[in-house]
């Protein structure tokens, strides 16, 4: 036990004395949450739009005011003719133009209908889509408010409710993704690199000549990263609850327990990589290519897996982060309990045992 503690202590010295490592370990989760939370968001806020108001009547100005007042849009410019539309798009001044027809109020009052044209800059299709959806919704609201007292026959209203994430916040999606990414980075890449560094420096050999059992060396290496990654989980959860206002709907104990399981999977992967790699660069390269990229692409965090072709969908099943991502989303956002995520938990446990067995076997073979 004393051996073990001495070794763990030394491992902490390594981490605390290396600023780069410290930064990656403790700064990374904060940086990622802040980046995804405030910069890399696909939500639409205060988008600049222009209005071409041919009607210039009461109703049209009410509508324009409502658009401007909403937090999604910011009416930047009132234009006077169709000729101005192209130039302002080309200058990139606005993302959408709302065109109100000449006899807007008349048509509404007498024919009970009118149409409004929305022209969006679809060079970014996602943004264009979101903008037109928001605008349509606002116009529908407006329509409802003016027809309140009138009886319109055969009106069918579709009412959409967004379950679990009523405001369609991006944070609900990326917080679980960032957790998976950070844990993989810290546990797998860092563990792999620190073990390979000892091989490179020749200190591993000295450890193997010592009475310290190889399994103990490896475990002692993993302990600090296990502790630090639980700090990371805490940081991410605190930031997401208090800064991004993402609730934790399910049991926090279950969430932490599942995270620790995922940490163990990542650590075993790190060990596996370190037993194969001979240099720190190789270890880093394998970690990035074999783990980080699939985690980003195939966990469902950036791109929906349902839309992928069958081979990729099948392949995504062996990406541990996919299962962890499902767990975090299930527990945090949907408030699932253990019975809702037992399949994922089982798969992760299986993966951990599998990787750990190979890693330990590899380690022993190397000693012969």
């Amino acid at each position: 036990m004393k051996q073990f503690i001495s070794f763990v202590k030394k491992e902490f010295y390594h981490i605390f004395r290396d600023r780069r490592t410290m930064f990656i370990l403790l700064g990374m989760p904060v940086v990622q949450i802040v980046l995804f939370g405030f910069a890399l968001t696909n939500e639409v806020k205060n988008s600049r739009i222009a209005v071409l108001d041919h009607a210039k009547d009461n109703e049209s100005s009410v509508l324009i005011n409502q658009l401007d007042a909403s937090k999604y849009f910011d009416v930047q410019q009132i234009i006077q003719s169709d000729h101005e539309i192209e130039p302002i798009f080309k200058q990139g001044k606005v993302k959408m133009v709302v065109i109100i027809p000449p006899s807007f109020q008349e048509d509404l009052r007498h024919m009970n209908k009118s149409s409004i044209q929305l022209i969006a800059d679809a060079s970014d299709p996602n943004v264009a889509n979101t903008l037109t959806n928001y605008a349509t919704a606002l116009i529908m609201d407006y329509q409802k408010s003016i027809t309140q007292n009138q009886k319109i026959p055969y009106t069918i209203n579709t009412e959409v409710r967004m379950l679990y994430n009523p405001q369609l916040k991006g944070a609900y999606n990326f917080v679980p993704g960032v957790m998976a990414m950070v844990l993989l980075l810290v546990c797998t890449m860092m563990t792999a690199i620190t073990i390979v560094r000892e091989k490179e420096m020749g200190t591993m050999e000295v450890m193997l000549v010592s009475p310290m059992k190889p399994q103990l060396v490896v475990m002692a290496k993993a302990v600090p990263y296990l502790l630090l990654s639980t700090i990371n989980i805490a940081t991410i959860l605190l930031l997401s609850v208090f800064v991004l206002e993402v609730p934790i709907n399910g049991s926090i104990v279950l969430l932490v327990a599942a995270s620790i399981l995922f940490i163990l999977v990542s650590l075993s992967l790190g060990l596996l990589i370190s037993s194969g790699a001979e240099s720190q660069q190789t270890a880093m390269f394998i970690s990035l290519v074999a783990l980080f990229l699939p985690t980003i692409m195939l966990s469902g965090f950036m791109f929906p897996i349902e839309n992928m072709p069958l081979p990729l969908r099948t392949f995504s099943n062996i990406v541990p982060a996919k299962w962890y991502y499902n767990i975090v989303k299930g527990v945090m956002i949907k408030g699932l309990n253990v019975f809702g995520i037992w399949k994922e938990l089982l798969i992760l446990t299986g993966m951990m045992l599998f990787f750990l067995t190979i890693a330990i076997r590899q380690f022993k073979i190397r000693l012969q």
Binding site: S6, F7, K9, R17, D18, G202, T203, E205, V206, Q368
Partner: protein, 248 residues
């Protein structure tokens, strides 16, 4: 000198597939002896040493280290040997003191032992002021001496030195050998591999390996007489010329 044998090998052999790296070597090392283990690159020195340290299992033959069998009592051997590689194997981002504490801890020594031993090494090497300095900021010669002190920190019976003087200047090498003499005087057996033939002269006895076999084993003085050579360098060249294998 006490005549206890601390290393005994009998037809110790290591094969990798069809390649015989170490071919039935037989030798004995006496307690407190400085035993030079020489050979060209690829002669099998490192493999032989790895077997004695318990890092590698022999294919056949017998070997006893510090009274324990290399096949069965691997763990006991590890407790009784020290090891220093050519890379000096200290943790560069730990201080001098922390390195000693780490090795003391790994060998399961008590805190009192570690404290007292650390003090005596710091005094002996005259580096009390540098006790809390990171190892990476020390000059190479100091690192080397410190690495040796750390290798014998837990007071092993035998210390294995794998080309311990690589890249160090002649003055530092001379000082280093003084340390080895001091250690041997306290009863530690020193098993050292080297490329420097002048260092071979410092050893009590020298064995020279060629192509996995021990071609010669005697005191430096006797070897020079037997091979009718003026220096150990000449002895080595005469023997190594027979080698079929080259390189690592």
């Amino acid at each position: 000198m006490n005549q206890t044998k601390v290393i005994i090998t009998d037809k110790l052999t290591k094969r990798f597939g069809g390649f015989t790296a170490v071919d039935a070597i037989c030798f004995e090392v006496t307690k407190g002896e400085i035993f030079g283990f020489l050979g060209a690159n690829g002669a099998g020195k490192t493999t032989a040493m790895r077997m004695l340290c318990g890092l590698s299992f022999p294919t056949s033959g017998k070997a006893m280290v510090a009274g324990f069998d290399v096949y069965k009592e691997n763990e006991k051997i590890k407790q009784n040997i020290g090891y220093m590689s050519q890379k000096f194997s200290l943790y560069e981002d730990l201080t001098v003191k922390e390195n000693m504490q780490l090795y003391g801890g790994i060998y399961g020594k008590s805190n009192a032992f570690i404290k007292q031993k650390t003090e005596s090494i710091l005094t002996e090497l005259d580096i009390k002021k540098e006790a809390n300095v990171l190892v990476k900021s020390l000059p190479l010669g100091w690192k080397q001496k410190l690495a040796f002190a750390v290798a014998i920190f837990h007071e092993p019976e035998i210390v294995f030195l794998d080309e311990p003087t690589g890249g160090v200047d002649p003055v530092a090498r001379r000082e280093f050998w003084n340390m080895i003499y001091n250690a041997a005087a306290t009863g530690v057996t020193v098993f050292v591999t080297t490329h420097y033939m002048d260092e071979a002269e410092y050893c009590n006895r020298v064995s020279i390996m060629v192509d996995g076999k021990i071609e010669a084993l005697d005191t430096p003085h006797q070897l020079k007489q037997t091979y009718n050579a003026g220096s150990m360098d000449d002895v080595f060249l005469k023997l190594a010329r027979k080698a079929v294998r080259t390189g690592d």
